[in-house]
Amino acid sequence: MELDVRAALEKLARRLGGEGAKLTEAGRLSGGASMETWAFAFEAPGGAERLILRRRSAPFDEETARSVSLATEAKLIQATGANGARVPQVRHVCDEADGLGEAYVMVRVDGETLGKKIVSDPRFDAVRPGLARQCGESLVAIHRTPPPPGLNLKAVDGTAELDRYEEVYRATRAERPILELAFQYLRKHVPAPVEPVLLHGDFRNGNIMFDPQAGVAAILDWELAHIGDPAEDMGWICTNSWRFGRPDRPVGGFGEYEDLLAGYASAGGRRIELSRVRFWQMLGSLRWGVMCLTMYLSWRDGITKSVERPMIGRRVSETEADLVVLLEEGL
């Protein structure tokens, strides 16, 4: 049965704001198939609060099999925030008494997350040239955070990631020559190992809240956090599928490689070669292509029924169009 989230939020408002608390707003924001995000607010004798609820609404499927629990996500946000990363403030981690399932509550941060707006809305014209540098700086605070103990985060390097996605690709039984060639090419170009760090794991335009004056306001969506090569987080934000129609600006559709790397170095991050970022960028396109295939399969196999899924399957060709150019250019 569909959970009555609104009723649960009324109860939660009283838990957070005291007996007199009254829910003044509750609405679901656009979210994924397995994760819900709700904006809500309450007024209470002690003051009003504007909050965000993040809750898992469906059991794990392939798409989310790599993800951490929401409780882990909340711990990572707190740990990286304490280390200087720009992240939302965790207000409350839900338990059974809240009746919301796996969920936590954050203080709402104002700004824009729609990638298309960041790359093209005139409101961001003034800050846009500085965003790639800010993204580089922001990553340092994350990568320098010691992983909180007891979280059991997965550790991944280039070879392990290729193994994982090739296994998933083989299981789909799809035959796509460009994906095959990308696997072969990347296997020959795996960068030398580096000391692994805490990664956001889904650091891309769309998962970052930007403010039209201040730029990076908060880094969101921590469910794919893991341990690995710092260049992985940099390569993912450079993957063309997240440039929103501006392939000429490699970082998120808003900035240049040099600025991302310079921001990282200036904040005290270790020096990272561009070719290393490009390896992860190319692996990012390949990974997104394989993910698109699995989303189609989740529909074909009857796991999900949404029309969204088979259409995402038709996005494999966008990654092929990108990969073939990257294969021509080399890393």
Binding site: L181, N240, D248, V307, R314, A321
Partner: protein, 121 residues
């Protein structure tokens, strides 16, 4: 096939109807309706452009592999030989053929997508 209407016109009529009712839907269904309209547009494009794209892919793959075959046969063999390391980025003509296949496919699936390497407008 019959022409009054053609299949792509049927798909187009459904797409237009979906667009018409979209504003009356709740946000989640409005989003899914947009996806559904896009699916109809993809079907219409594949009906129009698919045969030429497939013929071009068959010719391109046959040139790389040095023999004829159906799309499925050539595509399978191409994948197997790339996987075996017999065909690589250095193989003359391979990347050119794959690039043409990718261009034709994106023109059907997502014509507004700007691939890597597209210069600023």
């Amino acid at each position: 096939m019959i022409t009054h209407p053609r299949t792509d016109e049927l798909a187009e009529s459904v797409r237009l109807w979906i667009d018409e009712i979209r504003p009356t839907l709740d946000p989640r269904n409005a989003f899914l309706a947009r996806v559904a309209a896009n699916a109809m547009a993809t079907i219409a494009r594949e009906l129009m452009q698919g045969p030429a794209a497939e013929a071009s892919a068959v010719a391109g793959m046959a040139a790389v592999l040095g023999h004829d075959g159906t799309f499925a046969e050539l595509n399978s063999e191409l994948c197997a030989r790339i996987r075996a390391g017999e065909l690589t980025v250095e193989t003359p003509g391979l990347l050119t053929a794959l690039a043409a296949i990718a261009r034709n496919q994106i023109a059907i699936d997502q014509p507004s997508y700007k691939p890597e390497g597209t210069p600023a407008a």
